[in-house]
Symmetry: C2
């Protein structure tokens, strides 16, 4: 049963494990520094579908199938799917998993969805409510651009602070038996809003939430940044990451030696024309469900504090002059 | 700790209770048959705000405050908020709860959100992960119309099968100590898609999911419809309710004596020009968090099987020729 540590953190004494995981990406992500890590790289952005939204669902369906297979399970073995995505009404996930006939908790955490679904999956597993569940999410550059910004055909300029939505999907099977990386602790974040109104500067909008959740986690667990091999935010990008370190250092918390960001890992920022880095639910999902879990599984990494960040705005709220509320959830992943 | 009954149902042995609840509605809902039940009836659709989206957030914020107060708590006592709504990226909830500084699980279940949040809140409470949490959702006729259908100014005709999105918000505080109605069991639903492509006939699209979840619950618990005083779907409306009874009777399940639907309860269908009835996250939320919980609390009702239904489509998926996937979650609420 989950056990409260400090005010906001839950320790999961049964140490739920990830018995299977998969990540697929689009062409651009497949040309980045992590190209060797993914299960599959699609050669174009349509994934053989008639629309970008259907392409996103196709990626997510592909990942669900791969993760379930890699865990040695079939869909009927699963108790729950925990998932969601950036598309209006989370249709990437709905249509992606529609045919699987698995009880579904729909989540909305914007780019923090992978952390939210892993955290919830860990809690449900630790409490015995779930035997086997799938945490999953996706994003697609083209479906996100036309929904959140401009039609691609318009060829809008992207400011230096903007981030590039990852085309990709990642999913992980969480269970209590077998072997695999563990989910040891989770901290669910509070909404933080520092008044950033520029929807092209999501990193800045999300950095305060990441800072708050990291400090909460360290305080609750009475631990130091150096207790973790990696503190991995997803996805603050270049500008947000710099702000995060600055916000933390004002409170005498120094994570510079441990910090990395999924938005900085997935692309080569010098060569791939992605401005401030990657973003989108698929960004941290594809990195966690490939590079990170692989290295935790083979014990190259001992533990990773994954801090998934999300910007909970919509084009409508921005048009109405609202600022961008951020959220960040922390999940402590450990080698077995 | 939650205990699995049959394949898909969880029994919550600690019987989490609802220690406070609140519901506020707009003018039209306040003119309906349940007008005496609500905590507050707004006299116009703007709720004093500059936009309908901000009005929806204002209602939700109002309900959060009322529910927390009625439970004798303050925001800092809460471990989690579990919520979401129909607006793109769930901004009704995000901006509504932004100032409360409570850890937030964002959910997306369309009109099933109240059932999803009560179910999850019950599980988290039963497992000890949560001490006090708030399950909450909202919808607003005007923000939903312009997002899902037409600008109101256009004056589009509404087909007889269409439902009227409720302007309202409902919220419930779930905890393990004190007194109040209980959450005894939950069944999380699977996505069901019978190929309905008419976004103006949501009741028909959701009826198969409601039928599936009700049958699953009865099978898992080895119980009969007559074991429940009320089987309350939300929100199938007139057409969906008829289809539900038909689908169930084909499998020799007769719930006619117990069945009611939130979409039929909230308006006077003969007088209020709402065609097939009410819908929207706020429909079942305001009825559960007023009429139903009040009667469970004073023991006028013994138990209610609440089956929240949602249509997981978006305007984009419909424009792309997709059918409407439905989902339904069951929550067994009992008098103390």
């Amino acid at each position: 049963m989950p056990e409260r540590i400090g005010r906001y953190t839950l320790r999961l004494p049964s140490r739920p494990l990830i018995s299977g995981y998969a990540a697929v990406v689009g062409k651009k992500e497949g040309e980045g520094p992590l190209s060797e890590e993914f299960d599959y790289i699609y050669s174009d952005t349509t994934m053989g579908e008639q629309s970008w939204e259907k392409a996103e669902s196709a990626m997510l369906r592909d990942v669900a199938t791969r993760a379930i297979n890699k865990a040695g399970k079939s869909p009927s073995d699963l108790d729950f799917i925990l998932g969601g995505d950036l598309l209006n009404q989370c249709i990437g996930t709905t249509y992606g998993i529609r045919s699987l006939e698995i009880p579904y908790f729909g989540l909305f955490g914007a780019c923090s969805t992978m952390a939210e679904s892993l955290a919830l999956g860990g809690i449900l597993t630790d409490s015995g409510a779930s035997g086997v569940c799938l945490a999953i999410t996706s994003s697609h550059f083209c479906s996100a651009e036309r929904q959140f910004r401009f039609p691609l055909e318009y060829g809008g300029q992207r400011p230096p602070s903007s981030q590039w939505t990852v085309s990709g999907s990642g999913g992980a099977i969480i269970t209590n038996y077998g072997s695999g990386p563990r989910i040891d602790m989770v901290t669910i974040g509070k909404i933080m809003d520092y008044g950033i109104k520029d929807a092209n500067n999501m990193g800045a909008a999300m950095a305060p939430a990441a800072a708050d959740t990291i400090q909460t986690f360290l305080r609750d667990t009475n631990s130091q940044p150096s207790d973790y091999e990696m503190i991995l935010t997803g996805d603050l990008g270049a500008i947000g990451s710099e702000l995060l370190l600055e916000l933390l250092s004002k409170n005498n918390v120094d994570i510079e030696g441990q910090h990395n960001d999924c938005g900085l890992m997935i692309y080569d920022l010098n060569k791939q024309d992605v401005n401030s880095g990657g973003s989108g639910c698929g960004c941290s999902a594809t990195i966690i469900c490939s590079y990170i879990l692989k290295r935790l599984k083979n014990k190259e990494l001992k533990n990773v504090l994954f801090v998934g960040t999300g910007a909970l705005m919509s084009p409508t709220s921005i048009q109405q002059g609202e600022s961008v509320p951020g959220i960040a959830h922390a999940v402590l992943l450990s080698a077995e």
